[in-house]
């Protein structure tokens, strides 16, 4: 069974999701956690609002001011997943193992093996809803 989702419906869905990152008050913006299994390796703070308005079913993260975070654990760590939360730390999107890699993943980094005090910069991130379903 297949189906098509209209652009207004896609935009509504995307905008509803991206608005959730701005909810809360504990932090200035929502956060993206780079994780190794259940251990947080780096915390990247998003702007508020975190995303622009959706167009054609896709919204881009606002990268004004550089979205980055410093690797805190000592030694070497291997990032394998991400988590996106709102300003209060409530999880909105939780990536599974393999969702962060150097290619072919949801978030691709120049390297997933990082060391303490390395800085992870996200240069771009979009949230989208495809126009067609399976």
């Amino acid at each position: 069974m297949t189906y098509t989702v209209s652009d207004p419906a896609r935009n509504a869905a995307v905008n509803a999701v991206t608005a959730l990152f701005n909810v809360g008050s504990a932090n200035p913006g929502g956060q993206i956690l780079m994780r190794s299994s259940t251990t947080t390796i780096a915390t990247l703070q998003m702007n508020n609002p975190a995303f622009g308005a959706s167009s054609s079913g896709s919204a881009a993260m606002d990268t004004t001011g550089t979205i980055q975070g410093t690797v805190t654990p000592s030694g070497s760590s291997t990032i394998d997943r991400f988590r996106m939360s709102n300003r209060d730390g409530t999880t909105i999107i939780d990536g599974n193992a393999g969702s962060v890699a150097t290619s072919g993943a949801d978030i691709n980094l120049s390297s997933v093996v990082v060391n303490q005090n390395d800085v992870i910069q996200l240069t771009g991130l979009t949230i989208s809803v495809p126009s067609t379903g399976p």
Partner: protein, 54 residues
Amino acid sequence: MSENEFKVGETGPEILTPALEQLLEAAVQVRVSGEGVVLRAGQIVKQDDQEKQE
């Protein structure tokens, strides 16, 4: 309630299933696509040193 109406009620969930499936499929098809770079701690120090020298 007539027998026919009761039958319609019984088959209601089956009629709704395709629509619900579409909604559920749409809900899980929110996609994240991002990219980033790792700046090595040593490189950052070097950059700072270069800026100071300049």
